[in-house]
């Protein structure tokens, strides 16, 4: 998908901070529009998480009869399932966003951007920012659907906002990582092949079922899996009063991953530019 860059400001050199922001803004806009214009690509990242949440709520509602569950985890399985759905949707959408970057490389549009007087960093930042915007939009829609279905966010509007920002940070972390992979490999197939790995990691966590009820090696893996802690941070916003631990898990953890991932992405970009 091509959106012509017609902003005359882009004719200026890409070296200043101002131009970095300007270029990133334009490319963010392109990224967001590109996602929204491909409903067939974006739909699965909405449909499947919501479906799994609905399925889980209807299948595992009896868990709410366990006093431990209602006291320590969530008031209902629907309330529990929200966080997993948000996580799943954001992660899958982020992989698709990175695949778009890989397609740009495959189809030569990436080279076109490199040949234009725009900031190199903005090529990556635009994608990441676009991914964050879509994630915030996605999380907001998810929460509204769940609230409409009867779920309640115990920490109120701040918790709602906490989830939206947490989703954006998670998206930043995942799309930066996948963007690095896209730039390194130049192949959308390679990026898409990360999907099963993410799928595996999500199952080996408390995204779909509480860790408390797992056992053996599975429980051990889930305990150590960072996704468990991120999703529990999200669950905290939904099922508990506002608390620092929720921000630590839902914000700081993805942010830490994001910093490493962004470094990886920018390093991949500079290696690619050096190679060409």
């Amino acid at each position: 998908m091509n959106i012509a860059i017609t902003d005359p400001h882009l004719m200026k050199s890409g070296r200043s901070l101002r131009s970095l922001f300007q270029h990133s803004f334009v490319l963010t806009k392109r990224s967001v529009l590109g996602r929204l214009r491909q409903p067939a690509i974006i739909a699965p990242s909405f449909i499947f998480p919501l479906f799994f949440a609905a399925l889980g709520s209807a299948s595992f509602h009896k868990l709410a009869e366990d006093p431990y569950f209602t006291k320590n985890i969530a008031t209902s399985f629907l309330n529990y399932a929200i966080a997993g759905a948000v996580l799943q949707g954001v992660l899958f959408a982020s992989i698709s966003a990175a695949a778009d970057l890989a397609i740009d490389i495959e189809q030569g549009f990436f080279e076109r951007l490199l040949a234009s007087p725009i900031s190199r960093t903005s090529i990556v930042l635009g994608r990441l920012a676009g991914s964050m915007v879509v994630a915030m939009f996605q999380v907001t829609i998810f929460l509204m659907i769940f609230i409409g279905a009867g779920a309640r966010i115990k920490s109120g509007p701040f918790g709602f906002l906490g989830l939206v920002i947490g989703g954006a940070l998670l998206s930043l972390a995942m799309s930066a990582m996948m963007a690095g992979l896209a730039i390194k490999s130049g192949s959308s197939e390679v990026v898409q092949s990360a999907f099963p790995l993410i799928f595996v990691l999500m199952f080996l966590s408390s995204a779909f079922f509480p860790r408390h009820y797992m056992s053996g090696w599975y429980r051990t893996v889930a305990d150590w899996n960072p996704i468990s802690h991120i999703v529990e941070g999200f669950q905290g916003f939904i099922n508990q009063e506002l608390d620092f631990s929720q921000f630590a898990k839902a914000w700081l953890l993805p942010l830490a991953v994001a910093i490493v991932s962004i470094f990886f992405a920018l390093r991949s970009l500079s290696k690619r530019l050096a190679g060409s």
Partner: protein
């Protein structure tokens, strides 16, 4: 042999190709494609095993709390059916590929009966089903799965898995003949996915609530899962079997009709 009314001295072509010979060679071709492009087949092998481990590990408590001894007893039949259906649907990916390369035109031009073009992929699908099913069962045994129903348990799960595999393949063929692009594959996978999960995939009907319970009660997959699971949860009985067998038979009939009407469109 027959002669052209215009050129009586020339025998036109040869006798019509023997259907079984054509089916055999097309099945061989399908297997050859698996050998030469294993990356297309491996996901249908790995994903069911992964899901078996994931479901039994993550959701195990939900079924063991209902009195089921081992979560694997509950999930092995489900994942065997999933593996079989996705393995079988892979045959339609080959068909889509043939349409894109133009090779499908060559098959259409051959003087073979149209039903052979449905029967051959279905025969290939049987072979493609068996491998994932066997894989899942082996992993189940290694994980300590129980089979109080004995050999009949394995027979029931095999019948269920292969039956649903054939249904999935026929459905995929019908869609592919109509849509003729990768959209058919996506739609097929969606269809199978929702059919399987909107049944007793995760918990028994007694543990469900609301809309899911209503849907699962009328979903034929619920009967098929009952047929497949009974030998892993207890004895194999006629009461536990006939519903699944009937569901498989009806679904097979409908999906084969769908596939046949799809291939006939090429003559219209």
């Amino acid at each position: 042999m027959s002669s052209s009314p215009v050129f009586p001295s020339i025998e036109t072509g040869l006798h019509a190709a023997q259907p079984m010979e054509v089916i055999k060679v097309l099945v061989q071709r399908s297997m050859m494609r698996v050998r030469r492009m294993p990356s297309a087949f491996i996901p249908s092998l790995i994903m069911p095993v992964f899901q078996l481990i994931a479901f039994s590990g993550a959701f195990g408590f939900a079924v063991t709390s209902l009195g089921i001894k081992n979560a694997l007893d509950w999930y092995v039949p489900l994942n065997a059916i999933q593996g079989a259906s996705f393995g079988a649907v892979g045959v339609s990916f080959g068909l889509i590929n043939d349409m894109q390369t133009g090779f499908f035109d060559r098959i259409l031009l051959a003087p073979t009966r149209r039903w052979v073009m449905v029967a051959a992929p279905l025969a290939a699908a049987i072979v493609r089903c068996i491998v994932p099913v066997a894989f899942v069962i082996i992993v189940g045994f290694l994980g300590g799965m129980n089979t109080p129903g004995g050999l009949l348990a394995l027979v029931c799960v095999a019948i269920s898995a292969i039956g649903i595999g054939l249904v999935s393949c026929a459905f995929a063929l019908g869609l592919t003949f109509r849509i003729q692009n990768l959209g058919a594959a996506t739609l097929t996978q969606f269809g199978i996915f929702f059919t399987i999960f909107l049944s007793t995939s995760q918990v028994p009907i007694s543990a469900m609530t609301g809309w899911l319970r209503s849907v699962a009660r009328i979903n034929p997959m619920t009967n098929v899962l009952r047929l497949a699971r009974q030998g892993f949860l207890g004895d194999v009985t006629w009461e536990g079997s006939w519903g699944g067998l009937l569901a498989i038979a009806v679904l097979l009939l409908l999906s084969c009709w769908y596939a046949m009407t799809g291939i006939k469109k090429f003559d219209q």
